[in-house]
């Protein structure tokens, strides 16, 4: 049952992520990206990682994608304003994409997919256990990354602040 759900949702993820690329309208692209994130949330639930699922839901679907939409709606993108791409860039893009595919296929072959990793602790993704892991053995990395985020936030505020000398 769980495996069938996985294959169904995985197919949906792939279809939606392809639609993100192929949609002509950037707003439609973002909406498909939201659907893709939603399927990721389902994947997390299937992996019994409830906290990660709901955080993915709140942060990516609820906040970051709203900001994406927000910016795109303000930009008013259409065919006339879009810069025309030269054929050279397109060729370079195709070559880069092919290189990525080769690398991915190679790495998948190296990793043996046929022996799936089984979690020692099935309830690792529940909030309580995750919190104990984060604030126990991984306290230093956790605090460091939160410091990094704080620094990024302060930097963003500083950049967006108007220059007071001119005014």
């Amino acid at each position: 049952m769980s495996t069938q759900v996985f294959y169904f949702v995985a197919t949906l993820s792939i279809i939606f992520s392809l639609m993100v690329i192929f949609a002509k309208n950037p707003i439609h692209s973002v909406l498909y990206l939201i659907l893709t994130f939603f399927t990721f949330t389902v994947h997390y639930v299937l992996l019994n990682a409830q906290f990660l699922a709901v955080v993915n839901f709140i942060v990516y679907m609820g906040a970051i994608m709203v900001l994406f939409l927000f910016v795109l709606m303000l930009l008013n993108l259409n065919n006339e304003t879009e810069p025309s791409k030269s054929p050279l860039i397109k060729i370079v893009g195709v070559i880069a994409g092919c290189c990525l595919v080769v690398t991915l296929v190679g790495s998948f072959k190296a990793a043996s997919i046929n022996s799936p990793l089984i979690l020692k602790n099935q309830g690792l993704g529940l909030v309580e256990n995750l919190g104990k892991e984060l604030f126990g053995p991984f306290l230093l990395p956790f605090e460091l990354s939160s410091l990094l985020l704080l620094a990024a936030m302060v930097g963003a505020v500083l950049l967006s602040k108007k220059d007071e000398v001119e005014a």
Binding site: L31, I58, V127
Partner: protein, 345 residues
């Protein structure tokens, strides 16, 4: 998963869905009556005794009106917008514990659809998803006023979500759990969270006003500046969906406030009441008390709407970012320090 379980949950979902629709329907009536009372008028009194059939008349009107989809709109998104708004409004009811487990035919039936252990975060996720209905509808209308309104709604929701989340964190520091069922059980009798978290409750309430786009934060539907708002281009039942979603949102956020801070189905003297009424009727009485609290909060929403004028946009942003967020962070720090001190001694 046996058949009995599925049938039980199905009935529960149907009942909750029906109740939320009826409550939302009669909220429209109540709103007009409350407005009339506050402005010294009579309000609707033609359809039925005291105008009690007015919501039905409004519903029939909504269904009968002509459907107009603007030629320049994106048709699918134009249709999805109101549907999404109503869906997001309804799914929040799934994790709210409506009463303590009830004894039906020798079996304890929980009056909660799903007791997931991230219940509070689920509510938060549904709230943050709610803005998509407004954004998609506003953008798909291809009308500059609707677009402006959609953008307003987005930035307002994002801003107030932060303060809302921070006020919940202070509460979670005390409850030590994310499950709404456990949070309600901890507030037995009159041991309500609001006595411990008055500031947190105040911040949470202000944010839920902003998240439901209710006055004084109803900037997304500002008639004087935006003609109507995100639903300017909508007619018939699609407009009805948007208006209805607002009332269901109001119902759900009242229920969440009552659950998190006002003890849910708990009331003073519930133990002697449980002995007196027995295990079948006592939970129902608790549910009735819970609905009493919800009705009070819905009334409060309306009371505020007809008392306080709408904010200006910069005032809204100042209140959110410079008022509520620092207050919420201070609340977390104070709560943390107090908990640390209590645990030490």
């Amino acid at each position: 998963m046996d058949t009995g379980f599925i049938i039980e949950k199905f009935i529960l979902v149907a009942v909750i869905f029906g109740i939320s629709l009826v409550v939302a329907m009669y909220s429209t009536y109540a709103e007009r009556k409350v407005a009339a009372y506050l402005q010294d008028r009579l309000g609707p009194d033609r359809a039925g005794p005291f105008g009690i059939l007015q919501p039905l008349a409004d519903g029939v009107k909504m269904f009968m009106k002509e459907e107009i989809i603007p030629a320049s709109s994106s048709k699918w998104l134009f249709i999805i917008g109101p549907g999404l708004a109503l869906l997001c409004a309804c799914i929040g009811t799934a994790v709210i514990p409506w009463g303590s487990p009830m004894l039906i035919g020798g079996k304890l039936v929980p009056l909660q659809v799903a007791d997931i252990n991230v219940g509070v975060l689920y509510i938060f996720g549904v709230v943050s998803l709610g803005v998509y209905g407004v954004m998609i509808g506003g953008w798909a209308s291809n009308n500059k006023y609707s677009l402006l309104s959609a953008i307003r709604a987005a930035s307002q929701n994002i801003s107030y979500e932060i303060a809302m989340g921070l006020s919940i964190i202070a509460l979670l520091l005390m409850t030590n759990t994310l499950s709404l069922k456990t949070i309600v059980e901890q507030q037995h009798g009159l041991n309500w969270n609001v006595w411990y978290q008055p500031l947190g409750f105040l911040i949470f309430m202000v944010c839920s006003f902003a998240e439901t786009n209710r006055a004084p934060f109803d900037l997304p539907e500002c008639e004087t500046e935006l003609i109507g708002g995100y639903h300017t281009e909508y007619s018939s039942m699609k407009l009805g969906f948007y208006l209805f979603a607002e009332y269901i949102n109001m119902f759900v956020s009242s229920a969440v406030m009552a659950t998190l801070y006002f003890g849910g189905y708990n009331y003073p003297g519930m133990d002697s009441m449980a002995v007196w009424l027995g295990p079948t009727w006592a939970p129902l009485f608790g549910t009735a008390v819970f609905f009493g609290k919800i009705v009070f909060f819905i009334f409060f929403f309306m009371w505020v709407r007809w008392t306080i004028p709408r904010f200006r946009y910069d005032q809204l942003m100042n209140l959110g970012w410079k008022g509520l967020i620092p207050l919420a962070i201070a609340n977390i720090i104070i709560t943390g320090v107090v908990i640390a001190i209590i645990e030490k001694f």
